[in-house]
Amino acid sequence: MTDIQDPRAIRNNDGGPSQPVRRDGAAVLSLAGWFDRALTWGLEPTEREEILRERESDRYEHVTDPDASMVSVVTRSVWSSLGDVWYRFVETEASALPLAIMFAIAGMGALVDTFTSDVSAMVGALQVITAIGYFALAAAGLRQPRVLQRVWLIPGLVLASFGTIAGAFVVPAAPNSGPFGWFFKLALAGLGIGLAIVAIALIRDGGSRKWIIRGGTVMWGSALVLAIGGIGWAIVDVPIYSTRLSSLMVAFAGVVGAAVITRMRNIEVA
């Protein structure tokens, strides 16, 4: 295991026995380095060089850390790349803006669908209620960076959770979606339940941390179910191009939703 003669061998962080850089580790170092270069493209050259240098040093330490598994190295590299993409758009992890934009788009989607699709009066009414709820959630995040305003948040959560849960039962499965239509219903129900859990936690005792975490986790899982449903729908409904495009947009919305929710940990409620 220990081989001081091996030119790839280094001492670990605590000055303990040397560890060689494994071949798979070298591949990860190389690949992650390319991702870093791509994702820092366009930054001020000196700043970019410093970022790349420090990242290279960090990954080397991680790959040669005898306590670290290769799974943790790869997972961390993937999360880092996703984080880089995020920061290119949002600048910081602590903004409520992406959540607000996500709900604003969801509200627009519900409203547009109400007036452009041939839906029943019941479904239309539920979609309007849901849209109002989503707009209130968007307003909660747009008023001040880093902080969701309780005065907008709670009514928004109540309306959105009611409309979304009821919609999951009432809205028919998408045509030609096969079993994946049920993924949408499941995702809608999950999203509504997650919103309801957060609403109850905020109303009952001013924000039980444990239950808000659970609500957020349910919403995150629902967004992933939505993404899987969208991809599945695109696969089973191959002949209809426009439907496939819609289903892929749904999948994209699910992935973006999941990503947005995971990055919300620094937001506060005022």
């Binding site: 970022i51 960090d58 330490e61 997972t75 999360w79 986790t217 919300m264």
Partner: protein
């Protein structure tokens, strides 16, 4: 978007300062980014160290506000240490950093309810 005129530390910055204090009190005067992330894993009992994209942005911000200082390791130092890896960037926590961490912890205890959303989706904490 957030930092303009804002003097409050965000959760990750506080965590990093606490990890830095922990490492300093256990005898290390200087630490590099990965060792700090590893210390955070130990303190929080998580599986994966904080992602580089989050870690080094937070360290830059802490350095800009004077909570940390950093220097690059020279090639001679690296060789004297018997390592073959790329040079490390070493950080030290300043008196301002210790004071900022104390203040943030006190504020967090006072407003723990209001800041409950800080720990949304715990499995992603620290990434």
């Amino acid at each position: 978007m957030r930092r303009k005129g804002d003097t409050e530390l965000v959760t990750n910055e506080v965590k990093l300062l606490l990890a830095a204090i922990s490492m300093t009190t256990s005898g290390g005067s200087e630490f590099h980014g990965y060792s700090l992330a590893k210390e955070l894993v130990r303190l929080e009992g998580t599986q994966t160290p904080m992602a580089q994209s989050t870690l080094y942005r937070a360290l830059r911000r802490l350095e800009e506000r004077g909570a940390l200082q950093s220097r690059w390791e020279s090639v001679e130092e690296s060789q004297a240490d018997g390592r073959d890896g790329p040079p490390r960037r070493y950080y030290t926590i300043t008196a301002d950093g210790i004071a900022a961490a104390r203040e943030a912890v006190a504020r967090s205890e006072q407003a723990s309810r209001a800041s409950a959303w800080q720990t949304w989706v715990p499995s992603f904490e620290g990434r």
